[in-house]
């Protein structure tokens, strides 16, 4: 099976309101999958169901080989997650953050030590291991948060608006990192508001009021809607 995420008719209902209304899609292994939508379109709700935090009302979804209804705990172990706040502990040092998050994913002390060394080297911050995260520049903090989300080598990593509030150069660097990880076989599931970032994705889905209105490669989408950029595609769809 080549699909690492398989979603069929997934629905989340609050009273009469369908936050997510029968969405279906697949994500292939090693793919960078862009999950777009305006605020309130339901993408956060959909993502919460996929990462095992929220229980769907109906439908089927399989993530990393586990069913979201039956095995949300196993899903949690096989995915990585990074939120828009690059949430790390500011009052802990870089090393302590790595140790803590490695620890809650059940890595042994020995593995954590190796990982820490490799990670600091990779980010070229070998001398910052004992620095408090709060005093790091935002760009480094973001890369660190991403690396920590990957510390237990998950098959998929979910990124919830990972580039909010970051300058264009840092954003560019961050996407290079995402590409690198995708090449190594990690599936990337990313939500974003930046339409130029949507162009970097292998495939893109666009949600409008709880439904997936479009799903294809950026190139195809632009052809279908006869426009030059993803921005215009998005505007056309979101305005209905």
């Amino acid at each position: 099976m080549n699909n690492i995420i398989q979603v069929k008719n997934l629905t989340k209902q609050y009273g009469d309101f369908f936050a997510v209304n029968k969405i279906s899609f697949e994500v292939k292994k090693g793919e960078i999958f862009g999950f777009l939508g305006a605020n309130g379109a339901g993408k956060t709700t959909a993502m919460k169901m996929l990462i095992g935090v929220s229980k769907p009302t109906s439908g089927d979804a399989n993530v990393a080989g586990f069913d979201v209804f039956k095995n949300p705990e196993k899903i949690k172990k096989s995915i990585g997650y990074m939120s828009q706040k690059f949430a790390l502990y500011d009052d802990l040092t870089v090393n302590e953050n790595i140790t803590f998050f490695g620890g809650i994913y059940g890595l042994t002390r020995k593995v954590i030590k190796q990982k820490t060394k490799a990670l600091l080297q990779y980010l070229e911050i070998e001398n910052l291991g004992k620095t408090l995260v709060g005093s790091l520049p935002l760009g480094i903090k973001q890369k660190l948060a991403f690396s920590i989300a990957l510390i237990h080598e998950p098959k998929i990593v979910f990124l919830d608006e990972p580039t909010g509030g970051v300058d264009p150069i840092t954003r560019r660097q961050f996407w290079e990192m995402i590409y690198e990880k995708a090449h190594q076989g990690t599936t990337i599931f990313v939500t974003t508001h930046y339409m130029d970032e949507a162009e970097y994705c292998d495939r893109v889905s666009i949600m409008v009021s709880g439904k997936i209105e479009a799903l294809d490669t950026p190139k195809k989408l632009k052809e279908i809607y006869k426009v030059d950029s993803m921005n215009e595609v998005f505007l056309k769809l979101a305005r209905g």
Binding site: V53, I79, A87, D91, F101, G103, G106
Partner: protein, 368 residues
């Protein structure tokens, strides 16, 4: 288990690296005990008074001497005419004036009754009443002395004994009270703040997406505060004992168990607050207004519950601290056994279970 250990370690890093929480944890108990122990007392000592002695005879002098000899009053001023009485009050350094009528001794001996007027500054009502009481007691003693030789046929002589706190030290009341306040502060406020902090920073999201179960996350957040609260309780008791001589007459084990029960109820309140507030500020305001204020005002710590109006008395019954205060006094000062406060314990236990159940329910709703 290893995950849990890592989590606790992280919590301690948070606590020990934040000066503000360090102060609340370790500075506050000491400051509060010292404040309540030394500054805020119901006893009076060296109160400045003035005397307007119109009699200037043997008996009035004897009484004035009695007063000067006590530690309670300092005679700061002698007044010689009526107008000066109010003047000296207005200056503000005199709390009371004693006025002896002319022919004090003569009236006392010949007419069998003499008058002393006690005028007090009632801008501080409690002090005023205490002063009046002290002076009346001294007068009674003087009377008994005078009557020693003459036989009065029917005499009722009250013998009073002040049980459990013979010297009427107010610190005996404040140490258990401060302990309740501090435990509430540390357990409920600090936990609710530390949980909402994770929400605000977005790390709570990361933790909930991780393989940690929600109850493990909460337990990990709460556990360090159980530990710190116990240390605090011990520190307060030691301070009370060594600095103010407040004894622990009853069983240490009972005291420890009841304290842990109260800590648990406070912690569950803290978790409950964190589920309904999304920022640290909200959590702090709710803790201060909703918990700390009732603990100080309604728990019987400062104001006696029996003299509150009925609605307040009812309100005081739903404050867990009220029950813990009763239990504490029973164990620490009276030294009685469990059968004298099992009802209070049961109520506290019931409240704790209720709060825990409610916060679990609220927490689950939030997760959905």
């Amino acid at each position: 288990m290893k995950r849990f250990k890592g989590f606790i370690k992280k919590e301690f890093y948070h606590i020990f690296r934040d000066k503000r929480s360090l102060f609340i944890l370790f500075g506050m108990p000491i400051v509060q005990i010292m404040l309540f122990g030394f500054a805020i007392t119901n006893e009076i000592n060296n109160v400045n008074i003035a005397i307007f002695d119109k009699a200037k005879d043997e008996k009035s002098q004897e009484f004035i001497q009695n007063i000067t000899a006590s530690n309670y009053f300092d005679v700061k001023q002698l007044i010689y005419n009526q107008k000066d009485i109010e003047k000296s009050f207005k200056k503000g350094h005199i709390k009371a004036v004693l006025v002896f009528e002319p022919d004090f001794a003569k009236n006392l001996i010949k007419e069998d009754k003499a008058n002393i007027q006690v005028i007090t500054d009632a801008t501080e009502p409690n002090t005023a009443i205490t002063i009046v009481n002290y002076i009346s007691t001294m007068l009674k003693k003087l009377q008994i002395n005078i009557n020693k030789n003459t036989a009065i046929p029917y005499q009722i002589k009250p013998t009073t004994r002040l049980l459990y706190n013979p010297e009427l030290k107010s610190v005996f009341m404040f140490v258990p009270g401060v302990m309740t306040v501090i435990l509430m502060l540390v357990s409920a406020m600090m936990t609710s703040i530390s949980i909402t902090k994770e929400k605000e920073l977005g790390t709570m999201e990361i933790l909930l997406v991780s393989p940690l179960k929600p109850f493990q996350v909460i337990l990990g957040k709460v556990f360090p505060y159980i530990f710190l609260s116990i240390i605090n309780a011990i520190a307060i008791l030691l301070l009370g004992y060594f600095v103010f001589g407040v004894p622990i007459v009853g069983s240490y084990i009972l005291l420890a168990l009841e304290t842990i029960l109260f800590i648990l109820s406070a912690l569950s309140l803290g978790v409950l607050i964190s589920t309904i507030s999304s920022t640290q500020q909200t959590a702090m305001m709710i803790s201060l207004m909703g918990l700390l204020l009732p603990v100080i005002i309604l728990s019987g710590f400062i104001f006696p519950i029996a003299s509150m109006p009925l609605p307040m008395q009812v309100a005081s019954k739903i404050v867990p601290a009220t029950w813990f205060n009763i239990i504490l006094k029973n164990i620490m000062l009276k030294g009685v056994g469990f059968k004298y406060f099992w009802k209070e314990t049961l109520i506290l236990l019931g409240m704790t279970v209720f709060f825990i159940a409610l916060s679990i329910k609220k927490y689950k709703i939030r997760l959905e």
